[in-house]
């Protein structure tokens, strides 16, 4: 590597820019300029603008007087608690299945990832049509096979939120399952062998080997998906559009609705800001966890 020949090759191949940069700091700034420009123009400025718009206490009072807002906040909480837990527990369970060393399991796994690989728009709209109470495939099948008249999945607010959670789980379960499969694969085999020699039952192996080894990954994943579920606009907007009568909105769709349907940007931003008590602690915790995991390496 240190022969003069390679140096000449390195210099000759490149026509390297002859900037008058000689310190590491100057080079660092050079390499960071594109990212810092994007960050300043499209992250700092919008956030500063939002903070400026959201500064007036009167706008919060106005928002909190809107009963739709409280309905929305409640929906968001239900969506997060039910949606995230359902998804992560199913992912933990299914990751055990997909970690099995059979070819056919791997084929099922390849098909299972499809909802995540396919664009949201057509697949969620497909589900929307399927769930139509009059002509959708689900209710037609229910009637033809069981003689049941299916409910109004999307136009009855009791079912609407359930349908939204189902779509969300359908879309994001594969991703988190695969993450946990990768986590299971990284558990050293000899831990299991030792447990087998000690005569551990499958449930004991899960409790004393698998879960302790997966716990950190599972926790990080759950926090990450909580944040991203908070921002899941598509599952709500494309399925029910927040309807009927704005009763199935979450904060993400309601904010957009205030801002662009009712042309009330202040209410829209304040709606988003009202999620910060959940968002900020999670972001701080996760930044520490993720940055810490890099430093250790």
């Amino acid at each position: 590597m240190s022969s003069p020949r390679s140096r000449k090759a390195a210099a000759g191949l490149l026509g390297a820019p002859r900037f008058a940069l000689n310190s590491d700091v100057a080079w660092g700034i050079f390499f960071l300029i594109p990212y810092l420009a994007i960050f300043a123009l499209f992250v700092v400025y919008p956030i500063g603008y939002a903070a400026w718009l959201a500064a007036s206490p009167a706008s919060y009072v106005r928002l909190f007087e809107d009963p739709i807002y409280w309905r929305t906040a409640w929906n968001t909480l239900v969506f997060l608690i039910v949606g995230v837990n359902l998804k992560m527990i199913l992912a933990l369970f299914l990751s055990g299945f997909f970690a099995l060393p059979y070819l056919w399991v791997r084929i099922v796994g390849a098909l299972f990832i499809l909802p995540w690989a396919v664009p949201h728009i057509p697949s969620i709209l497909s589900i929307r049509w399927m769930l139509n109470s009059e002509w959708g495939m689900i209710n037609v099948l229910l009637f033809d096979m069981l003689g049941i008249i299916g409910p109004n999945w999307l136009t009855d607010p009791r079912y609407g939120l359930g349908a939204i959670i189902a779509v969300h789980v359908w879309k994001y379960l594969p991703f988190w399952t695969m993450i946990l499969v990768a986590g299971r694969m990284a558990i050293p085999r000899d831990l299991y062998e030792a447990a087998m020699i000690d005569g551990a039952t499958p449930s004991q192996r899960f409790r004393y080997v698998t879960f302790p080894q997966l716990r950190a990954l599972f926790l990080t994943s759950t926090m990450l998906t909580t944040i991203w579920s908070l921002g899941d606009f598509n599952s709500v907007y494309l399925l029910t559009g927040g309807g009927p009568a704005d009763r199935t909105n979450t904060l993400a769709t309601m904010g957009i609705r205030y801002a662009f349907r009712q042309a009330d940007f202040e209410a829209g931003i304040v709606t988003m800001v009202s999620a910060l008590p959940i968002l900020i602690p999670l972001v701080i915790l996760l930044t520490r966890r993720l940055a810490g995991s890099t430093r250790r390496r």
Binding site: M1, R7, A11, L14, A16, D24, W27, G28, F31, L32, P34, Y35, I38, F42, V43, Y45, P46, Y49, A50, L94, F97, P101, V108, L111, L114, P115, V118, I121, P122, L125, S126, I127, R128, W129, M130, N132, W135, N139, V140, W170, G183, L217, L224, W228, L230, G231, G241, A252, G255, I256, F260, G268, I269, M272, L279, L282, V283, T287, A291, R297
Partner: protein, 279 residues
Amino acid sequence: MTRSVPQLIGLALVAIAVLVWTLLPLYHMVVLSLTPINAAFAGRLWPDAPTIANYGIIFRQENHYLGRFWRQLWNSVFAAGMSCVLVLIVATMASYAIGRLKLWFGPLVTNLSLITYLIPAAFLAIPFYQVMANYNLLDSIWGLVFAVVTFTTPYAIWVLRNYADSVPYELDEAAMVDGATPWQIFRLIYLPLIRPAMLAVGTFALLHAWNEYLYAFLILSNESRLTLTVTLGLFRSDDSAPWPLLMAVGVLYSIPPAALYFAVRKYMVTGLTAGGVKD
């Protein structure tokens, strides 16, 4: 490990449940795309008279919903390609600066980008829209490209940086002893060695831009500037629109990302676990 027959039956039942749950909406999309437009309301598991005529109508742009199909398909391709290139340029450079040059402000930049990675994009949509108006980027495909770059780059930096940790730093040092500038090290040593992670990150950016709905729908408005996702979204509020055509476009629109995903699956999984959530 051998398994008993009841255990295998149990596993098979799990597999069947998983497959029905996963594939039914996609199967429904395909079936509806093969259904004549006037039979869309039958809700059949298989249409009485399947047809591929819907695809012909789309290709010839014969329906007013899809009057600019080819133009909008091109817009989607353009946005995806540009986002991919820009994310790769910005993220490889930034990841090199953070991971390879020992800078006192490196950890600060890492934290800033991590925070951006964690904020849900939907929460920034309203001020982002206003700012785009100030930059005169509303109703421009570049507005969409910058939105995707903004929200994809932090993740890309994160994945590249973690991957680069596995590349021995001694190579850089040897090159420095030889008098190579950081730019030469970046071009000749760093980029070739992180290529697998670049593949994962580039694919991620491509898929993200191809699938983006919210920002596309807020930023773009002129019919000839929309991406196909926005056009598909227009059907949402209209049950009398020709949904079999919508589903046929959906099938066409889903094939490239799914194929791409399977082609680079190995790299994606490595990248995602290295970057996403590895603890």
